[in-house]
């Protein structure tokens, strides 16, 4: 392929992945640590000793920093993508997002990490850049084009923000693909099927349901619905809130004041949640700063009662999607489960009931890893876009717009111009006129959503039709064309028909970054220097080597070091020597291999460190360092939660 490979990227709330089509099957590209999942966590490194701009680390390394220096780390940034200051207030109650104070209404919110501030697309760009680098390392060639997945229920602003992030990371985003649809592509690859399938996608932070009709390689989405703020995060927060409340009530310790401790407890809550998918009960056993132990058993039955309100929120969207497709549950031939949260037995039980599966002798599809299936599907779509593939040449995805598009009419009502679940690209043409003699401007307010009043819908754009030739009121006839493209993003064009003059239109987004802003946020141009690709790979490999060598340098100071056997310590020393000897050579692959070897030799040490950090953070040894208050921001989302838990 002359133009290079197109990769598929799942930019997730919790984890992100990059995949590509290897022959006729999609595969996930592992990171430098050998792991397929890159945690969607970004950490601002300490300011370099000699000054200068600190770098941003992404993934597992950043996740470790979450406990040690929480004020320099951000996770679940996807929840903030494309959202305004007013819209994210609820998130701020549940997530330790430190909003920059100087953000004004109408501006894209900025998040404080240590000394610097970042917009959500910038943070996402760092995650994307890491995935891009992982792919480039894997191929040994530059990667400049990608397909990125988004929740099906993402609105225009959220989609645009994702595309902006791609551009900042140096990726041409050839297509945004809806996550459930991508999953269907991954499943549909090896079976030339005819039938109707439902994809139930409960991820870290978003829920989507899509219903598709498959026929001769055409994947035609019939309807989609969802909730862009519903997922595993909500379950973690429930468990976390209860633990915090109980620790406060029973032991008189308010851990909420200590972000590091909250993050450590959050990790324990996530571990408990994961354990409950296979075990009948999970345990919290945590040493507190006052020497007490917080011990509590969570039986699965209690957990299921606790999360019921969260799971119930998926029912409405599923029923609406069925109704919009004009189908009954019995008409769904197959159900595909996507997203880590679908590992929870109670979720599977609910899906079974929603689609009457076991009653019909059916089971949901879980053959593909629910954490990877979206990225695999993105790789399939990437292959379709790259063209000329035997495997995917006959495949075509026809997706829909999840939300209706409308115009604010006089009196604040909404005139729908493109209905939800319309196949995209879709367009609509509307005619406008003037109300006053000689009027030369008409203001139009475009909204997205299903509510009757414009104020209740998402404001997409306000724009002025300018330069209308002066005429008597009602005489101009301005034709405005709205077009939703295959990425689900709106384009507007207009002309005055009476005079045949193309009206000059200024599209003023209500919210979002301007082209110039995106341009100024493009990550270091170094990444774009393709001619220096080999050099770049080498420098990156050396940087990674330096990072791990510095960490190993400090290792013997850690109490965890003494827990290693002599053999383990010797293995680390040998791997370290070998990396040091190849580090300054010109062979990037050799540096990478030696880095990977050292990483593997220190794996158990890293685990011990992590455990120690969790304990230390909760016991309070680092609390003075982490002085920032979370205050009363973490509140129980459901009044019944604490009571039911007893």
């Amino acid at each position: 392929m002359a133009e290079g490979r197109v990769v598929g990227i799942d930019l997730g709330t919790t984890n992100s992945l990059v995949a590509y089509m290897q022959g006729d099957a999609p595969v996930v590209i592992p990171g430098v640590d050998g792991s397929n999942l890159v945690p969607s966590v970004a950490a601002l490194d300490p300011i370099p000793a000699g000054g200068g701009r600190p770098t941003v680390t992404v993934g597992n390394t950043a996740r470790k920093a979450l406990i040690e220096t929480p004020e320099r780390v951000i996770y679940s940034v996807k929840r903030l993508m494309g959202r305004s200051l007013e819209e994210i207030q609820d998130e701020l109650k549940l997530f330790p997002f430190r909003l920059a104070e100087d953000v004004e209404v109408g501006e894209v919110p900025r998040i404080t990490l240590g000394e610097l501030k970042f917009t959500p697309p910038e943070i996402s760009a760092y995650i994307l850049r890491q995935l891009k680098r992982n792919a480039e390392r894997f191929f040994g060639a530059p990667v400049t084009q990608a397909v990125i997945t988004v929740p099906a229920y993402f609105n225009d602003a959220q989609r645009q923000a994702t595309k902006d992030a791609g551009r900042m990371a140096g990726l041409e985003v050839l297509r945004l693909v809806n996550e459930p649809t991508a999953a269907a592509l991954a499943y549909g690859l090896d079976r030339a099927k005819v039938g109707t399938i439902a994809v139930y996608d409960l991820g870290g932070g978003t829920f989507d349901i899509s219903i598709l009709k498959l026929r001769d390689g055409i994947f035609e989405v019939q309807s989609t619905n969802g909730d862009t703020h519903l997922g595993g995060d909500d379950i973690d927060n429930l468990l976390l809130t209860i633990a915090l409340d109980e620790i406060h009530a029973e032991h008189g310790v308010d851990l909420r004041r200590h972000p590091g401790a909250v993050q450590a407890l959050r990790k324990a809550a996530i571990d408990a949640k994961i354990a409950l998918s296979t075990e009948p009960a999970a345990h919290f056993d945590i040493e507190l700063p006052n020497g007490d132990r917080y011990q509590r058993e969570i039986p699965r039955a209690v957990f299921e009662l606790l999360i019921e309100p969260v799971l119930d929120r998926t029912v409405g969207p599923c029923k609406q999607a069925l109704a919009d497709a004009g189908l009954t549950p019995e008409q769904i031939d197959e159900v595909v489960l996507v997203g880590g949260s679908t590992r929870i037995p109670a979720v599977r039980q609910q899906v079974d009931e929603l689609f009457h599966l076991s009653a019909r002798g059916k089971k949901p599809h879980i053959e593909l890893n629910p954490d990877e299936v979206v990225a695999l599907g993105a790789a399939v779509q990437a292959d379709i876009l790259a063209g000329a593939s035997k495997t995917t040449g006959e495949m075509l995805l026809l997706d829909v717009t999840p939300l209706s598009l409308g115009i604010e009419a006089l009196g604040g009502g909404v005139a729908r111009i493109i209905q939800r679940n319309s196949t995209i690209p879709a367009s609509a043409t509307e005619h406008f006129t003037t109300g006053v003699d000689g009027q030369t401007n008409v203001a139009i307010h475009v909204v997205q959503g299903e509510r009757e009043l414009a104020a209740d819908c998402r404001s997409l754009a306000r724009f002025d039709l300018k330069g209308i030739p002066p005429m008597s009121a009602g005489l101009p006839r301005i034709e405005v064309r709205f077009l939703i493209d295959a990425d689900g993003i709106l384009h507007v064009s207009a002309r005055e028909q009476r005079s045949g003059q193309a009206a000059q239109i200024e599209v003023k987004p209500t919210y979002g970054l301007t082209d110039e802003q995106v341009e100024s946020m493009i990550l270091d141009s170094f990444d774009h220097a393709e001619e220096d690709f080999a050099k770049r790979l080498l420098i990156e490999a050396r940087n990674e080597a330096e990072t791990i060598l510095a960490a190993v340098e400090r290792a013997p100071q850690s109490p965890a070091w003494d827990q290693l056997t002599g053999e383990e310590q010797a293995a680390i020393a040998a791997a370290r020597m070998s990396l040091q000897s190849v580090k300054m050579g010109e062979n990037a692959a050799a540096v990478r291999d030696a880095t990977l070897a050292l990483d593997q030799a220190t794996r158990r040490f890293a685990e011990l460190m992590m455990e120690a950090a969790v304990t230390t953070a909760i016991r309070g040894k680092t609390m003075n360092a982490a002085g920032e208050e979370l205050g009363e921001t973490v509140t129980a989302p459901h009044a019944m939660a604490a009571a039911e838990f007893k």
Binding site: E3, G387, T433, D485, A486
Partner: protein
């Protein structure tokens, strides 16, 4: 932007320069994608305007054309071809969405023929409030009056947290009745399709007039059924009318 061109005017392909009729998404000579043609939705599928359509054939044609024009097929093409593919695919999708649905198809065809249907869909930012074009069908005046009273009573009872079973039963009955009337209108419309498709100019004019009236009645009834459903608490309602 859609070019408004007479479909009989031959235009030249941008790629091979051979002239063709402006009713095709692709050049018949070199198969290259063309800017959006100027014809109506029926001509996108190579059809004459008509109301009885073979929906299975329509879907097959939609899929066949989608495979060729969809932007996925032009992800790495030049800027012009990418733009045309986007515009053509939007036209194809708009056309299919309109023609596969019996009501949308009927309304579209009647508008093509110059009939005025329903409330003016164009919002007038500088103009007047939009007028509500739904008139109560004369034969239903009394029943609609009664129904509206009952709906109001029901809403009040709901607000007070009361359940009036007799009222609820009566509303269910009304729902069935008006649902039945709705189905009758649809049957009448189907009858008119045949008359329009097969008729000469005069027969078509008559059928058109009848269909416009039927669509008005249908819109009124369907709003009524929707109100009853909402009041009875069926929040989820199918968007499709067929």
């Amino acid at each position: 932007m859609i070019k408004v061109l007479d479909s009989a005017v031959p235009i030249a392909c941008w790629s091979c320069s051979i002239g063709h009729n402006d009713s095709t998404l692709f050049c018949p000579h070199c198969s290259k994608i063309q800017p959006p043609p100027g014809g109506d939705y029926f001509s996108v599928f190579g059809l004459q305007p008509r109301l009885n359509l073979d929906l299975a054939a329509l879907e097959r044609e939609f899929h066949r054309l989608s495979r060729k024009v969809h932007p996925d097929r032009f992800a790495r093409a030049g800027e012009n071809e990418r733009q045309w593919s986007l515009a053509d695919a939007a036209l194809l999708n708009d056309a299919y969405r309109t023609l596969k649905d019996p009501l949308r198809r009927t309304e579209y065809l009647l508008k093509l023929e110059g009939a005025e249907i329903g409330p003016d869909p164009a919002p007038e930012p500088g103009g007047r409030e939009r007028k509500n074009a739904s008139r109560v069908p004369a034969d239903l005046l009394e029943e609609v009056f009664d129904l509206n009273m009952q709906l109001e009573e029901m809403r009040m009872a709901r607000e007070l947290g009361e359940t009036d079973q007799a009222l609820e039963a009566s509303l269910f009955q009304a729902k069935r009745k008006f649902g039945g009337l709705l189905a009758a209108v649809d049957d009448d419309l189907h009858g008119q399709w045949q008359a329009w498709d097969a008729g000469d100019k005069t027969a078509r004019m008559a059928a058109q007039k009848t269909m416009v009236a039927l669509l008005d009645r249908r819109r009124y009834l369907s709003n009524l059924v929707r109100d009853v459903n909402e009041t009875l608490g069926f929040a989820i309602e199918s968007q499709r009318s067929s």
